[in-house]
Symmetry: C2
Subunit: 228 residues, 2 copies
DNA sequence: AGTGATCAGATTGTATACAATATTGTGGCT
DNA sequence: AGCCACAATATTGTATACAATCTGATCACT
């Protein structure tokens, strides 16, 4: 493989590990991430852990409270709406661009993503399936060859994973992968118009399949929780 | 004032100082930012400087090269285009939202921004004028009451300042503030359609007023610079 | 018992010491 | 002189020690 050797034990690897754990819902929203604890787990010093946490905080995957520590973020309903509104502004156009410059290799890669996604679903690893479903969108942004926009979408999808973990309601697990299939068909035909339209409605479906009336998780500050 | 007391000497204050220096073009693209040097200037330890630099790197205002240090970013032509394409996706719709929920106080605040901008221009502080012109856009995003999108726009405008500093060609300094005036008029009328349209063409004007054929600054690696 | 002050423990914030790496200068060799 | 190896220096990367702050437990007092 032509992949660069990635040194283990760096801030980047720790951040990546934590990010994946959050995406796969192994670290639930609100959970405290103690620095000493993480340093012990990953066998690095707190310096490294701290750098990783700062990075995650910048992407809003965790919240840093001064003198209190790091906690897995708990997006509010308002935030959830905002994230999907931002995605609605960015992703449809990006899907169009991607469709227009899609190569056979790209399509193959996307298909592989979907297959992996299905495999995860079949194995009952819904957390991992969710993660892979996010990667599908990120891959599209990458194909569109707009690094800047791809980065923004990356941030948003990262947060979306958390949001979906919080507000997802079980049913409708199948319709999503269907949407991804439909997108691939549009990509095969290099149909920019259709891809843009499909992405738009896909995102709309996603939002409406969330339950944005009640939050399921434990509120982080009792302060807000107990004044009924 | 109801403003919170901001402790000096924190990573945030150092990052803010550096960001402003970059925006006002006092730190030119490509300039090396040595850790010890900065620590000495701001009277803090390298720990703090490092945190600040990481933060700026995340916003792409500086580039961190492993074992080499931090350098003020030098956006390429491709990056410049990408940043403005991203803004074109986000800002027009945001301007519409802002127009729809604009209050008198908001309009006053925006007008104050423009006035300050003009004052800076009259004083010949073109760097500061550029910075304030960016704040105008950020203020609009804030008024639209979409924190997530506002954050994204904030990042993009931050980078835009650098880009404009690099690729701006002198003429056309006046048309910009004219565009801002026109926007305010639309806001006064709560005319969402017009605001969206004006923002769209304003961003287009900005891009076309850049010289994206030749780069003016010193290239960071002599390697690429000297092989004519 | 209930309230509040004070103190011990734990956790984060910051500075500094040391290690790893890159850069630059020197000297020997051809 | 030109080139290469190697040492000296400077700079960044990481770990750790110490300071500041928060938590929550104990205990005196009403």
């Amino acid at each position: 493989m032509n992949k660069m050797q990635v040194k283990t034990g760096t801030a980047e690897t720790v951040a990546a590990a934590l990010e994946q754990a959050i995406h796969e819902h192994r670290l639930p929203p609100g959970m405290k991430l103690g620095e000493d604890e993480l340093a012990d787990v990953y066998r690095v010093s707190r310096t490294i852990v701290r750098a990783a946490l700062q990075s995650l905080a910048h992407n809003r995957l965790i919240e840093l409270k001064r003198n209190r520590g790091a906690f897995v973020a708990q997006p509010t309903v308002a935030e959830a709406r905002e994230v999907f509104e931002a995605r609605a502004l960015l992703e449809p156009r990006t899907a169009r661009s991607a469709a227009e410059r899609m190569t056979e290799a790209d399509i193959t890669a996307l298909q592989a993503h979907i297959d992996a996604e299905h495999a995860a679903i079949d194995d009952g690893e819904s957390g991992r399936a969710l993660y892979l479903s996010g990667l599908f969108h990120i891959e599209i942004a990458r194909i569109a060859d707009q690094k800047t926009i791809a980065d923004l979408i990356n941030q948003l999808i990262s947060r979306s994973s958390l949001i979906i973990a919080l507000y997802w309601q079980r049913r409708a697990a199948l319709c999503e992968s269907h949407a991804h299939h439909a997108l691939i068909e549009a990509f095969r035909d290099r149909d920019g118009d259709l891809a843009e339209e499909l992405m738009k409605s896909h995102l709309l479906d996603l939002v409406t399949s969330l339950d944005l009336r009640s939050r399921k998780s434990v509120p982080s500050s009792l302060h807000e929780a107990l004044r009924k």
